[in-house]
């Protein structure tokens, strides 16, 4: 890398550098951090892929118990989906606010995201406790074990996301829009948007295909 850079310096540095990878040397810290987090998120997506595979394999193994068609309440799922989709948008607004160093956009976006995330979690928790109260808990059948594992794992991720979010509000409040804080904020945005993408998979594969004819 350094050799290529020196050559360019000898050439006077006036030529536009072609799209080769050597220019500029090591990538900036923002790129390295976000890229590492992106690779972590992809490994997380692969883990969810395993849960999806388990679910799809076990979906008919109801052991004489209730199937998804009898259990799932689509209007509740639609409400949960609305919460997460809107929260992805408000999270984007918050990151724009941080880029512009604009407090009202940043805090407004983050607080809206937190409220929508918490609303999603409450709805999901109510859904889960209803199922358990009906005797359709994770121990009822292989189908329900796989269901609670997949959807519950996503719920745990959203819980972590909300904690991450509250931490980022506190950090920006205490330390301001410093480069290291903004890097963490970029990672938070990636995390939150990725969770939303996984939810698209869940509401399609679990809920919609579960009740589809």
């Amino acid at each position: 890398m350094s050799a290529a850079t020196t050559d360019l310096a000898f050439a006077g540095g006036t030529l536009p550098v072609p799209a080769v990878h050597a220019e500029g040397g090591v990538a900036s810290k923002r790129i390295v951090t976000a890229y590492g987090f992106w690779v972590f998120l992809l490994s997380d997506v692969i883990m969810f892929g395993a849960f999806f595979a388990t679910y799809v394999v076990l979906v008919d193994m109801t052991a004489g118990g209730p199937s998804g068609k009898e259990l799932f309440n689509l209007s509740m799922v639609a409400l949960e989906t609305a919460c997460l989709l809107l929260s992805s948008f408000t999270c984007g607004v918050a990151s724009l606010g941080a880029r512009a160093r604009n407090n009202s956009w940043y805090y407004g976006g983050m607080i809206a995201t937190a409220i929508l995330g918490a609303a999603f979690l409450l709805l999901e928790l109510r859904d889960f406790s209803n199922l358990v109260a009906q005797g359709a808990g994770p121990s009822r059948s292989a189908f329900l074990s796989a269901y609670f594992a997949l959807v519950g794992c996503h719920g745990v991720h959203v819980t972590m996301g909300v904690l991450f979010l509250l931490t980022m509000i506190a950090q920006v409040y205490a330390k301001g829009y410093r480069p290291d804080i903004l890097r963490r904020l970029l990672c938070f945005g990636l995390f939150w948007h990725t969770l939303d993408i996984i939810w698209v998979g869940i509401f399609t594969v679990v809920y919609l295909l579960g009740v589809a004819p």
Binding site: E23, F89, L96, L208
Partner: protein, 133 residues
């Protein structure tokens, strides 16, 4: 993105996943992309939830339609929310994504393929019970 004199592409450096090559730093300049993303995403979701209850289209086509809509919606999220695009400065991010998608594909399709064959070849449970007596 090329130099006026030589026509060579000007290297701007890679971009972090999630970052956008923005024209400015004002909120309004980035808001458009998020609004488009939200609109497309809501449209895909509404159509998907509508399809489940409708009798207007051929019923066996509904599952395939739902899966296509989900993949399209994931694409919308990746481009408009995660800002992972096909621009040259995002190649590394796309490569990582493609590898992730590949592994997920092998995992899910492979599991379903193998398990349906095993199910198909298994002795029915009643017969297994009789053999054990």
């Amino acid at each position: 993105m090329s130099d006026d004199k030589t026509g060579l592409p000007v290297y701007e450096g890679d971009i972090a996943p999630g970052d956008e090559r923005a024209d400015g730093t004002e909120v309004a300049e980035g808001l458009r992309g998020y609004l488009i993303g939200l609109a497309l995403s809501v449209a895909a979701t509404v159509v998907a939830f509508y399809l489940v209850g409708t009798t207007l289209i051929w019923q066996p086509s509904i599952p395939a339609a739902l899966i296509v809509l989900a993949i399209a919606q994931m694409g919308v999220h990746i481009v408009f929310f995660l800002h992972i695009t096909t621009r040259p400065d995002s190649v590394n991010n796309v490569m990582a994504l493609i590898f992730g998608i590949f592994v997920v594909f092998v995992l899910i399709v492979g599991s379903v393929w193998i398990m349906t064959h095993l199910n198909h070849n298994m002795i029915p449970m009643e017969r297994l019970m009789q053999m054990q007596r």
